[in-house]
Amino acid sequence: MKPIITAKDLCLWYGQSQALKNIDIDIPECSITALIGPSGCGKSTFLKTLNRMNDLIPGVKITGTVKYNGTDIFAQDVNLLRKEVGMVFQKPNPFPMSIYDNVAYGPRTHGIRSKARLDEIVEQSLKDTAIWDEVKDRLKKNALGLSGGQQQRLCIARALAVQPQVLLMDEPTSALDPISTLKIEELASKLKEKYTIVIVTHNMQQALRISDRTAFFLLGELVEYGDTDQIFSNPADQRTNDYVTGRFG
């Protein structure tokens, strides 16, 4: 498969401490790539580099290259990059406005004004995230009234509404109950037909269930990257083996 994101020799520092060390990775299109590793290993930092959310943190220094569809992400307009590479956060973070306005926020940001077009996008995004039937009668109600799992699916719908190519998910189910978690996983497996998904997870069962490729991070290094089946059944590196068999982390 053709890679949609390519990182070469990527290093990142928070002030003096180095959080990412010489990361080389190709992320294939229309697949799910899981990033695993113990807390503080750099997987979230790497994920946030892909749509430059790290720009918001003062004192971050980055070297090396990251290419999205062949263009350097640090050389292009950050807002256009984030339109292409969307993000879903660890804790559901719907805006304190109506369900409709939440989903329409992105398209409005990128200049869509027509009511009919917005209606269409909102409906399609909510259907894509399988939440349409639950909320179609209360689109004008405040999104904060939804349950945690519904809020997270709404946030995914909100991210899809700007028609990104890539969806970054930062432990999207860690704040959710098991049923909501399964719904999000099923959704992710369905979404990979159209989108490339990169997901950070602490739950190795989750990585095994849904991902095609898995990358194991440790202390800022990318230790091993390969097909999920291989990483979990026959890892090449001893440290990967110890981690996926639960010996540390």
Binding site: F89, N93, F95, T109, A159
Partner: protein
């Protein structure tokens, strides 16, 4: 087993504290009651709706009411954009945290300065250049209330969850759009509370206005009013009581001011409660 001496001691402490509490309560009640009882009988429609006239030996406080309203409007119109703008800049844009800290500290200090000093400075800067007029008073009040609006807005901006900002940035929104659509709507409560507190301060201010806005009791339109000298209700209260010995009028004004400030406190509390409920 507690000894009798210990019991006596505890009982005395408790007694003294309840005495202090009842004294405080009684004093407040006495003050409010006294002003209202002496003032309200003197409040008449004629007093509220006419201007003073030496020919017919009549005192009316309509000009003072109008002046108060004008000065509140003029002050808020200027102080709101300044205060909210400064708060947004300090919280959302400024990157040097030390300078932000210094400015915040200065703003806190500014609100503790006796108002008569603002009056003195306002007189030198504004009145000496534009004449003694309501506008000079309003500009002085702007300086006084800037910290109130700024600090309230800032505190409220800090309570807008970072997750909202991240969510909006993550969708490709630019800085200004994030502020306009996600951050500012989340801090309306702080702005409203700041406004109400400012109105309370303006209503109660006399020292700074004695220097800058003057004492005249002439009913004017808004623009004309701002460019001429005029007394607000508090200043009028001082003038009638101290210089003309008109205590009935003074107490009538006092009663009106008392009721207004009670209403303002009440509405500030209600607004805060309402927004707290909404945020939960």
């Amino acid at each position: 087993m507690i000894s009798n001496r210990r019991k006596l001691f505890l009982w005395t402490v408790r007694g003294l504290m309840s005495l202090a509490t009842s004294l405080t309560g009684l004093l407040t009640l006495f003050l409010v009651g006294y002003v209202l009882i002496r003032g309200i009988p003197n409040v008449s429609w004629e007093l509220l709706s006419t201007s003073p006239s030496y020919l017919s030996d009549r005192i009316g406080i309509l000009p003072d009411i109008l002046n108060t309203i004008y000065i509140i409007i003029a002050t808020l119109v200027i102080v709101l954009p300044l205060g909210v703008g400064a708060a947004v800049y300090l919280t959302e844009y400024a990157s040097n945290k030390r300078i932000v800290g210094i400015i915040e500290y200065a703003a806190e200090a500014l609100s503790g300065i006796p108002s008569i000093i603002y009056g003195l400075v306002g007189m030198l800067i504004f009145s000496n250049n534009m004449g003694t007029c309501l506008m000079a008073g309003a500009l002085t009040l702007v300086i006084m209330n800037l910290p109130v609006i700024m600090r309230n807005t800032q505190e409220s901006l800090k309570t807008v969850p970072q997750a909202y900002r991240e969510g909006a940035f993550g969708l490709g929104a630019g800085k200004w759009r994030v502020i306009r659509t996600v951050v500012l709507p989340g801090c309306v409560d702080g702005v409203v509370t700041g406004c109400i507190l400012s109105v309370g301060r303006i209503l109660g201010e006399s020292a700074a206005l004695l220097f800058t806005a003057g004492f005249a009791h002439v009913a004017n339109g808004f623009i004309e009013g701002l460019s001429s000298a005029g007394a607000t209700l508090t200043v009028a209260l001082y003038v009638y009581a101290k210089e003309q010995g008109e205590f009935e009028v003074a107490f009538a004004i006092a009663a009106i001011l008392m009721i207004l400030s009670l209403l303002i406190n009440l509405s500030a509390t209600m607004v805060t409660k309402k927004f707290q409920r909404r945020n939960q």
